[in-house]
Symmetry: C2
């Protein structure tokens, strides 16, 4: 029997490693199509909340609506919490206020909040009226915290004990108190004003004599999070100190909740995603969103890069006469612009990343510039010789080769310098360099790339 259990769970882990399988979704879609609801029920039975959410997200909009109307009874609050925002809105529209309120009551405060944030203002109020006064008070308080703050991220449900209790008293408290969180790992020790003094891991609690005073075995709280602190900063704190949980305090230092690593995990994923999408100039609108929305965001981003492209074209157009006279310029000029842009993007990305992870500080700006310019000297020197040589051989003109060499070195050094300084300056002004540093830099490397090369050629060859 034991071996079976294992084989079973192993199979599940293999097959459903990444949510509901394509076959399962096809089978369910087909059954829904034929209104064969008993079959759908059979197929979805025992599905993990995360897989159920996955299934709901992958169904076609029509199939999804039908599924939810018929099976809303078997959609657990946990499943609702797992569905992506963009699709959850549609799901919530099908559910009644009462059904949503029931789900909100059952979830922990951070997930509950996430759910009601998706609702229209009016329905939000209705749902808040339909839940218990205690739960409403907590949610209304949380809604006053700024978005992306620790207050929104934390869970309210925590276990606190005074420092003079014994291990035995603490264990009895945990055993007998109704309304504690289902799962928790840490008990906070607080003073009479509810300010955190220390924390005790449950494993430590189990390993001490019942008459031990908790203040003797607690670990002094090292890192507290303020309720208004930005979630990105919280993630940095967890990352740097390898925290598993941290108490959250309000402006008077009173403990109001806790943040655990799994909350931070989501933040880190979100932020990494945002960095990546920013770099590629894509909006976070999910690729499962409607075509028109995706197109709208794509166009917005492309308009920014278009400005760059048009400025570069304008610069080239100023040298039409030179290109007319030396036609090799037309195909050599793109090399300099492209290399400068590519080298610059490498630098910009490294600097943005270093700023984001706080491994680069503003006080180290000139050190970073020095280093990147040194790297630029090596890479620029290398490509300057390589491409100057290729160009000279290609067009059988030593002078054009030398000019490309010089222009390339200048542009790559500029890329190293500006690629370091630009994100740091943007960051200094409190803006996010991930969004603007890339396009700004490539505009300068394009303009300089064309202008220096064509300018030198005009100056010396005409």
């Amino acid at each position: 029997m034991a071996a079976e259990t294992f084989a079973e769970s192993k199979e599940t882990s293999q097959e459903l490693l990444f949510g509901a399988s394509s076959e399962l979704i096809e089978d369910i879609s087909r059954a829904l199509d034929h209104n064969d609801f008993p079959e759908v029920g059979r197929l979805t039975e025992g599905l993990h909340a995360a897989d159920m959410a996955d299934l709901i997200m992958r169904l076609s909009p029509e199939a999804r609506e039908k599924f939810i109307i018929v099976f809303k009874g078997s959609i657990t609050p946990e499943t609702l919490a797992e569905i992506d925002d963009s699709i959850r809105k549609d799901v919530l529209e099908i559910l009644s206020t009462k059904e949503i309120a029931a789900a909100v009551s059952e979830l922990e405060s951070d997930d509950a909040l996430d759910l009601i944030s998706d609702l229209e203002e009016a329905q939000q109020q209705e749902v808040l009226r339909a839940i218990s006064a205690d739960e409403r008070a907590i949610l209304e308080e949380v809604l006053t915290y700024p978005e992306d703050s620790a207050g929104r991220l934390m869970q309210h449900e925590i276990v606190c004990v005074p420092p003079f209790w014994t291990v035995g008293e603490t264990i009895s408290f945990v055993r007998d108190t109704y309304g504690l969180p289902d799962t928790f790992y840490t008990i906070y020790v607080v003073d009479s004003r509810y300010q955190p003094l220390g924390e005790i891991y449950l494993s430590a609690l189990l390993r001490h004599r019942l008459d031990t005073i908790v203040s003797e075995i607690m670990q002094k709280t090292q890192k507290v999070v303020s309720v208004t602190q930005d979630q990105g900063e919280v993630a940095d704190l967890f990352r740097h100190y390898n925290l598993v949980s941290a108490p959250v305090v309000d402006s008077s230092g009173r403990i109001v909740g806790m943040i655990t690593l799994d909350d931070v995990f989501e933040v880190v994923e979100e932020e990494a995603e945002k960095d990546l999408l920013n770099l590629a100039k894509v909006h976070e609108s999910d690729f499962r969103g409607p075509v028109a929305t995706i197109a709208y965001w794509r166009i917005r981003w492309l308009l920014i890069t278009l400005v760059n492209t048009l400025i570069a074209s304008f610069v080239i157009s100023r040298f039409q006469e030179s290109i007319h006279q030396i036609s090799a310029l037309s195909f050599l000029m793109t090399i300099n612009a492209a290399m400068g842009g590519n080298a610059g993007m490498q630098v910009v990305t490294i600097i943005i990343r270093a700023l984001g992870t706080h491994s680069l500080r503003e006080s180290e700006t000139w050190k970073a510039v020095g280093k990147e310019v040194s790297v630029g000297l090596i890479t620029g020197g290398f490509f300057s010789l390589l491409l100057g040589g290729i160009a000279a051989l290609w067009v059988h003109d030593m002078r054009l080769g030398i000019i490309l060499s010089l222009a390339l070195l200048a542009n790559m050094l500029w890329a190293a310098f500006a690629g370091t300084i630009l994100p740091i300056v943007i960051h200094r002004f409190g803006l996010d360099p991930a969004v603007s540093a890339g396009p700004l830099l490539t505009t300068t490397t394009d303009v300089l790339g064309y202008a220096i090369f064509l300018g030198l050629a005009t100056l010396f060859l005409l």
Copy 2:
């Protein structure tokens, strides 16, 4: 006193939120310079292991060496574990085998392994000989698992109990057994062959009567990780099912360790970092590495993009005669290539991301292509009209405007199609599309961008 404690910890959290402050590092550097070791000792006293690691990484190589030689007694194993690989190698060179062995003994198996992986083969053997036979056996076993596998990520130290034990027996076991991990949240219930049956959170253990049988209150193990599973897959599993920990089993299904969320946290960070750096064509060599190493990797990546640039130049050179006759082509041609490249990179990034997070499956290829081509039709149509109009007005030539319009639409539709299909095909072949899909795609959009525009112009205008 309580208020003081809080004020203190708040200050620490503010000031040292991101490691050792710049001022502190400067002060310590100055004191090291003057060989004022008592002052250095005073300044570093009570520093958190993570901050101490941060300090060591930020010191200049000379100051670092001096610091480690004098203060190696106060560098804890945890600090060693926190230092980045590239710098830890230097630190380990200064420490004796005995000192390293002592650190290895004290760390949990995953951190210990990380530490000895940095050593030369010969020293690794010496360290392994210097630790206890038990610890050596564990580490030698772990070293047999493939790199980046679950076996390398897991910790060996786990708490297992048989299903027929009572809560009371389990608590006594935890209380009285020497050698259990310092902190743990989950107790695994295993059968006589050590195969996992279920797990019990410590909080559940505390909340049940002492005579309850553990198999009655355990949660059935849903997801087990195989010791050879890739760490990226483990991260996906944790992400999808919101796991906090999972048991790791060997090929016979026997439990050999556990992976916790904090281990996975590091993997996720690493992988997000890798995606970002791949997209920007930067190697993971830290920007704190030596200039020559950084330059080496930058050049390697730039050589790949250079191929693209040269192919594009070659295509343009084939149309020299056309450009010579219609000089406006020289500055209009770059628009088409740039827009196609930018639009294509948006698509490629979204698809790579969707493949990476398993929100896109290969069975959905044609659905994704259809969607992206639809988006491409809208964005392509928009920029086709906009830029065709701008070009016609700019060069006072309606025909050139129309030709740019057509070329742009064709290139952006190609970018949408190829941007979707290319990463999926690369992924199908088991390669990482994050590395190669971008450069490959922009080569095609550059070549097509120049060839279609210049080709049409040659065909209709000359």
